[in-house]
């Protein structure tokens, strides 16, 4: 079974010149022992929350790491807010943020010290950084831990500190790998609210998640990736329409897509 999908009226892999796209990926390839990402093309609009779904080992994290400059692709093109991320990685990094699934923060720094460090890396002035840091700390409910070393924080709190770090330089594109894993219900709600608020301000968010309910509720568009290829994409309604199951949940659609792909592979 093949799945056709649209990318908002444009052909997948097309290059924009009007600044409509926050992220354009064209023919991206990366192989280890076998192809991890296989001629992947993907366009994501400015100001949308895009959920990238896929089974374990589908190539989601590899794709996102190539976008953020943490991995070098074998071939293909990546454009971040109109900047060629492969030719001008520093300029591209300036406008984006990456939050891995395992929050990598410094145990011996306090959240405020961590945010000061991240602000320094992105060249934010002290006044702006301090104001934003305190705003984010308050917004994410970290006030009482702001001056404690991160080594004592729970996984959820560490995740929120890392998220604050990702937001402090006000990126145009935020890439999140499993941002809600390990968060309690209250923290998850806080994080979702913060992300949604950023999207309404025009920030673009690309996130991977295994919690399909989150994708179903939060994402403007959903892309499903398997074996390094994009196998379907669109709004939830578009995915349902393609699947001819109007009442199907995202979980049903996802599992069917993935099993079809595995059979085809």
């Amino acid at each position: 079974m093949t799945h056709e999908f649209s990318t908002g009226g444009r052909s997948t892999g097309g290059h924009s010149t009007d600044g409509q796209w926050a992220l354009e990926i064209t023919g991206l390839c990366k192989s280890y022992d076998r192809p991890a990402v296989d001629h992947l093309s993907l366009n994501i609009r400015r100001g949308e929350l895009y959920a990238l779904l896929g089974p374990n080992g589908a190539g989601k994290t590899t794709t996102l790491k190539m976008v953020t400059g943490l991995l070098q692709p074998d071939s293909g093109a990546i454009s971040v807010c109109g900047i060629d991320a492969l030719k001008s990685p520093i300029d591209a990094k300036r406008v984006m943020a990456w939050l891995p699934d395992e929050p990598l923060i410094y145990d011996k720094l306090t959240p405020l010290e961590y945010l000061e460090f991240v602000a320094g890396l992105w060249g934010i002035t002290a006044e702006v950084a301090e104001r934003r840091a305190h705003d984010l700390i308050a917004l994410l409910g970290l006030k009482s831990q702001a001056s404690e070393r991160c080594q004592g924080l729970s996984k959820g709190m560490r995740q929120k500190v890392a998220l604050a770090g990702a937001l402090i330089h006000e990126p145009e594109l935020i890439i999140l790998d499993e941002p809600l894993t390990g968060l309690d219900a209250g923290s998850a709600r806080q994080v979702k609210a913060v992300l949604r608020e950023h999207v309404t301000r025009g920030v673009t968010i690309v996130m991977t998640t295994h919690i399909l309910e989150v994708a179903e509720r939060m994402a403007d568009r959903i892309g499903v990736i398997a074996n390094g290829r994009l196998i379907s994409e669109g709004t939830l309604e578009e995915l349902r329409a393609k699947d001819s199951q109007q009442a199907a949940s995202l979980e049903d659609i996802f599992l069917e897509l993935v099993s079809d792909e595995q059979v085809a592979a």
Binding site: T68, G69, L70, I90, D91, K93, R94, M96, A97, W98, P100, L104, I105, Y106, D107, K108, L109, T110, L112, E113, E116, F117, V118, A119, G120, L121, W122, G123, T125, A126, E127, A129, E130, A133, A146, S147, E148, R149, Q151, G152, A162, G165
Partner: protein, 518 residues
């Protein structure tokens, strides 16, 4: 696949939760930990490790033979006070080193949670866990000391008489006493300064204790004989004469080590009784102490004096500031650095005592400085370059990889300069040429260590600093040899000998080899 049933038959007679059952578990973990430390998890390294251990053993036996043969070839006599003093000195040296190591291990036993949470959450008696952990610590402490002392004991048995074999159980007794004292020290620190500060304090005390005996006798040698030789004190006739008579019971441990069975029985029984008493007395509060140690690290160990205003920093400044902040807050590193600095004290003292007399000092002081600071640079650059805890954050920052590396190198060089510059400046006040040579030597040694760490860099956690040597033996050896060569070159140039060029060439050869192998 081994079933539970077959495994349990392998450990017949060991009831779960019993002392023996826990001991088996601990020994298995200790063995695997040691093996993975030595082989860095690569099976191919096992053969190399065995070959290197054999070489090391043969080398140490040769060294022991060359040291002991002149002293023991005519036979030892317990009426010989010099022998008594020398053996007692060696015993004390072992004791202080074991105490240092035991304190370090006991600290980890309390603060490293690993499987403790699992064990303490089970219905197993915590006293058993504690007793077995302490016994395991005693064994590892003995093993470490034996690696160095065994060749000397074996050679003494070969040259002199088989009675020296009794030195092995004496070493075990010393380890038991050292471990017992380490446990009591930990308890006292817990009570006096609380769980929050005990970890750092214990590691610093361990470093000071480890260095204190060696440094102590060096300091005496400097004041009494104006040299750095530790043997000067132990072989001085006036010092030996001031010691108790050969018949005094002060020498009981030496009698035990040379084969007197009654003395050996007393020494072993006393040590065992002390350790058992320690475990019995202190094990009651073990679980509570572990929990308080864990809860301290869970809550906060900084309790910073409130947030301070942000500073506007460039990317490089931010990276440097972060590195210094992390280095400052790393208890293990602080204790290791302190150890390096402590070892610099005797030469500094010699320098102060001979102020105005440059002759001879350069040969002693310059290489010590170059070696110590080269090694320190190696450790620091591993922490900053490889031990980056948030590589993806730094990797996604709008800074080039080159700038990131430079910022980290600058952070290391600044620390080296802060430690080395005061000593170099003191030398410069009366021996400018030697000071310049020393500064260049330190710079080359530090730069070489940093370069080696750059060539062999790999992702690692800062917490794995202890295991950095096992990650790459080539890097470790190259670092040590290049420091040694630069130290030799510095000493020779400071003494006005052009032979130093040969050492420079060798240092460059070491670097070239390391680069080719990286």
């Amino acid at each position: 696949m081994i079933s539970f049933a077959s495994r349990s038959s392998a450990s017949q007679g060991m009831t779960p939760q019993s002392l023996g059952w826990f001991a088996r578990h601990e020994l298995l973990l200790a063995w695997r930990d040691w093996l993975s430390m030595m082989t860095a998890g690569r099976r191919t390294r096992e053969r190399i490790m065995i070959a290197m251990a054999l070489l090391f053993t043969v080398g140490l036996h040769a060294l022991a033979y060359s040291v002991l043969n002149p002293a023991l070839k005519s036979g030892s006599s317990l009426g010989d006070k010099m022998l008594l003093v020398t053996v007692m000195g060696c015993g004390l040296l072992s004791f202080f080193m074991m105490l240092s190591q035991a304190l370090e291990s006991v600290t980890r036993a309390f603060y490293t949670r690993s499987d403790l949470e699992l064990i303490l959450s089970s219905p197993s008696p915590p006293r058993h866990v504690f007793a077995v952990r302490i016994a395991a610590l005693t064994i590892t402490t003995t093993a470490m000391s034996m690696m160095l002392m065994a060749p000397f004991i074996n050679v003494a048995v070969f040259i002199d008489h088989p009675g020296w074999l009794a030195a092995y159980p004496v070493l075990v007794a010393i380890a038991m006493i050292a471990t017992g004292i380490a446990v009591w020290l930990m308890m006292v620190l817990f009570r006096l300064i609380g769980a929050a500060r005990t970890r750092l304090a214990a590691q610093i005390v361990a470093a000071v204790i480890g260095a204190s005996f060696l440094i102590g006798i060096q300091v005496i040698a400097i004041f009494s004989y104006n040299n750095l030789s530790r043997l000067s004190v132990l072989q001085d006739h006036a010092f030996i004469a001031s010691m108790p008579a050969a018949e005094s019971s002060t020498w009981l441990p030496v009698w035990a080590a040379t084969g007197s069975f009654p003395a050996l029985f007393v020494v072993l029984a006393t040590a065992a009784a002390f350790l058992v008493f320690t475990v019995w007395q202190t094990s009651k509060g073990f679980a509570q102490l572990v929990l308080s140690a864990a809860s301290v690290s869970d809550i906060n160990t900084s309790a910073a004096a409130g947030p301070r205003p942000f500073r506007t920093l460039s990317s490089r400044q931010a990276l440097r500031a972060k590195e210094w902040q992390l280095l400052k807050r790393d208890p293990w590193l602080v204790s290791q650095t302190l150890m390096q600095v402590l070892y610099l004290l005797p030469p500094a003292l010699l320098l102060w005592k001979n102020y105005g007399d440059a002759a001879g000092i350069s040969v002693i002081l310059a290489p010590v400085l170059v070696m110590a600071l080269g090694q320190l640079a190696g450790g620091l650059s591993w922490l900053t370059i490889s031990g980056e805890d948030a590589p993806e954050l730094v990797g996604t920052a709008p800074v080039s990889a080159g700038q990131i590396l430079w910022a980290k190198i600058e952070a290391v060089l600044a620390v080296i300069a802060a430690v080395g510059l005061p000593l170099v400046l003191i030398i410069a006040t009366f021996a400018p040429y030697e000071a310049i040579v020393t500064a260049i030597g330190v710079g080359c040694s530090a730069a070489s260590a940093i370069a080696i760490q750059l060539w062999f860099r790999g992702p690692a956690k800062r917490a794995h600093f202890r295991y950095r040597q096992t990650a790459s033996r080539v890097a470790t050896l190259a670092e040590a040899f290049s420091s040694l060569m630069w130290a030799g070159a510095t000493a020779l140039f400071a003494a006005g000998m052009m032979l130093g060029i040969a050492c420079v060439m060798l240092a460059l050869l070491v670097l070239l080899t390391a680069w080719l192998m990286s």
